[in-house]
């Protein structure tokens, strides 16, 4: 079985579901269940190791290494969680899509359940792509699907505003990335990353055009992952987009950006490369600024989605610093694997936060931190889950988030980047302040005298919530669980 057939199969499933959505009047939930079933099957193939390899003729464009398989599984899990979240959030989507919400029942939900599949296909191809054009096409599949998803609630001004902002800045960043790629191709005459790496290692003469290409490509990718100073769009888009899409953006889109960054930075940092020094400097400065700004700006936030937006900026900073630390032999992991580990710990904690946020929103609560007040008493299970996820985001020991931060900080020590070590520690300390502010809200008394409806979750969401919380706690004690999946 070729791993490409996974992508083709999921893409086909997405197309079939779109047709079912438009021609048959089945309950929209069935479309979501079909998507979940397809994703679970694909996940089973990857976990069982039956994904196999690709023929040699494809190896210039598409590789299947442990990192690729890891990110493919990551993409599938993120998509699964997003669709489960969407089931929870369905009433809100319907309310803001339908022309007459009171007359229809499930307007727009068919597309909302099938579009994530296309994002997933794009991310899976991207995990394997080692060719500039393949990378670009896969990235565009992800981004274009996200444009639609972000602006999905067409009767909500906030969602439309988020969509327009995301579209314009996304187009700009894509332009920067492609322009950089064209310069790189123009200078090296190679499209495959291995070819580019060989040319960079044996470069003679003027390196300024290469640096120009590198700068443009890194700027374009920094937009995608939300690194300072290219982060301005993140808080507004995260706040305006439908909550499941926000979760998908902050995990899926970020991971997609980082798998491309890992491959491209790996090419730039190939031994003997002419641009190795500047690229490490750029990554470190971007990462340091991102950690500082993300964490400091998060302190002032009162909206929970916005706070998570800034938190995702801060986490991108740690990931960038991780990519810059290439001498990580002491950790028995490469810099790309440290970043992948970090992302794998980031996924469950983010999704727990957004699951609970969706459940609250579907019951009519607001998205402010203040509206979380009383959750710990109204539904102690949800309150505890949220508290664990937030503690993990902050990096409390014995949670997954701590292990992720620990590896990054350890990598900076191994490299001797003490300035960035200090920045990382300052950022983590700041994180404790604003994440624990939310935990404090969860366990404090509600402001109003009357208590609203108790937030609750459906069965699928409960199962995934339990899995994610268990993952946070187990990985916090036993990080090798993820490391074994990465380092084979």
């Amino acid at each position: 079985m070729s791993p490409l057939s996974l992508e083709l199969g999921l893409g086909l499933l997405g197309l079939v579901l779109l047709l079912v959505e438009s021609f048959a009047s089945v309950p929209r939930k069935l479309i979501a269940y079909a998507a979940i079933g397809g994703l679970l099957a694909a996940l089973a193939v990857i976990v069982s190791g039956a994904a196999g390899s690709v023929p040699d003729s494809l190896k210039e464009f598409y590789v299947v290494d442990p990192l690729a398989l890891f990110y493919k599984g990551f993409a599938i899990i993120a998509t699964l969680a997003t669709i489960i979240l969407s089931l929870e959030y369905a009433p809100i989507i319907h309310q803001f899509v339908a022309t007459h919400p009171e007359r229809t029942k499930e307007a727009g939900l068919g597309e909302f359940y099938s579009l994530p599949l296309f994002v997933c296909v794009g991310m899976m191809v991207m995990a394997s792509a080692v060719d500039l054009i393949t990378i670009f096409v896969a990235l565009e599949l992800v981004t274009v699907s996200f444009y639609v998803l972000v602006a999905f609630m067409r009767r909500s001004a906030a969602s439309l505003e988020a969509g327009v902002k995301y579209l314009i800045l996304g187009a700009l960043s894509t332009g920067l990335l492609v322009y950089g790629m064209s310069w790189l191709y123009g200078m090296t005459g190679e499209l495959s990353l291995s070819g580019v790496a060989y040319k960079l290692a044996h470069w003679e003469g003027n390196s300024a055009p290469i640096l120009f290409a590198v700068g443009l490509m890194l700027a374009g990718l920094a937009f995608k992952v939300g690194a300072v100073p290219f982060h301005i769009w993140i808080p507004d888009v995260y706040q305006g987009a439908p909550t499941p899409v926000t979760a998908f953006l902050s995990v899926g889109s970020k991971a997609a950006g980082f798998v491309v960054l890992t491959r491209i930075v790996g090419t730039f940092l190939t031994p003997g490369s002419v641009v190795a020094g500047p690229v490490i400097q750029i990554l470190l400065i971007l990462g340091g600024a991102t950690i500082l700004l993300g964490n400091l700006a998060a302190i002032a936030q009162t909206n929970f989605k916005r706070l998570l937006g800034y938190s995702s900026i801060a986490h991108a900073g740690y990931l960038l610093v991780a990519l810059a630390c290439i001498h990580t032999g002491g950790l028995k992991m490469t810099s790309g694997e440290v970043a992948a580990f970090y992302l794998a710990t980031y996924l469950p904690m983010t999704f727990v936060c957004f699951l609970i946020l969706s459940a609250m929103r579907a019951k009519g609560y607001g998205e402010d931190i203040a509206s979380l007040k009383g959750l710990g008493r109204a539904n102690p299970t949800l309150g505890l889950a949220l508290a664990i996820a937030l503690a993990s985001l902050a990096g409390l020991p014995l949670t997954a988030g701590f292990m992720g931060k620990f590896f990054v900080i350890f990598a900076t020590v191994l490299e001797g980047y003490y300035t960035y070590l200090a920045i990382a520690v300052i950022g983590a300390a700041t994180g404790f302040f604003y994440y624990f502010k939310v935990i404090l809200a969860v366990y404090s008394k509600p402001d109003g005298p009357s208590e609203g409806p108790t937030p609750d979750l459906g069965l699928l969401s409960k199962v995934s919530l339990a899995v994610f919380v268990a993952a946070i706690l187990v990985v916090g004690v036993y990080p090798d669980l993820i490391r074994f999946a990465l380092v084979k």
Binding site: L18, S207, A208
Partner: protein, 124 residues
């Protein structure tokens, strides 16, 4: 080190210079006559301007334009395919036919979707 960037500097100077000279020329050569209200009004084939400068268009126009681009791009791929089709089939067999068919199949799904969602129905 820095002299490596001389071409970049030259290109930037050229770009800025061209834009600057053009703007300067239009300031110096144009706007020299006296202004009056008639001259400053919008010119519309000698008619008096009617309505707003930015009227609202029906969203149908955008949908049609989008579908046009979709199926227009399809032909961009089909042209080179059709050109090499005969030679390729003679050497490698019919695989090339099925590749294009799968591509057109994906577009067919898009077409069916658009049709079913009444995107092609102008009167509704």
């Amino acid at each position: 080190m820095l002299e490596n960037y001389l071409p970049v500097l030259m290109q930037m100077l050229m770009a800025a210079g061209f834009a600057g000279v053009t703007l300067l020329a239009s300031v110096l050569a144009g706007k020299s006559a006296k202004r009056n209200k008639m001259k400053d009004s919008a010119y519309e084939c000698g008619m008096l301007p009617l309505g707003e400068a930015q009227p609202r268009f029906s969203v149908k126009f955008y949908i049609v334009a989008m579908l046009f681009v979709l199926f227009d791009i399809e032909v961009v791929f089909m042209y080179p395919w059709a050109v090499i089709f005969k030679d390729y089939v003679a050497v490698f067999g019919a695989a090339i036919f099925w590749w294009m068919l799968s591509f057109v199949g994906i577009l067919l799904v898009a077409f069916l979707y658009a049709w079913r969602k009444k995107a092609l129905d102008w009167s509704s």
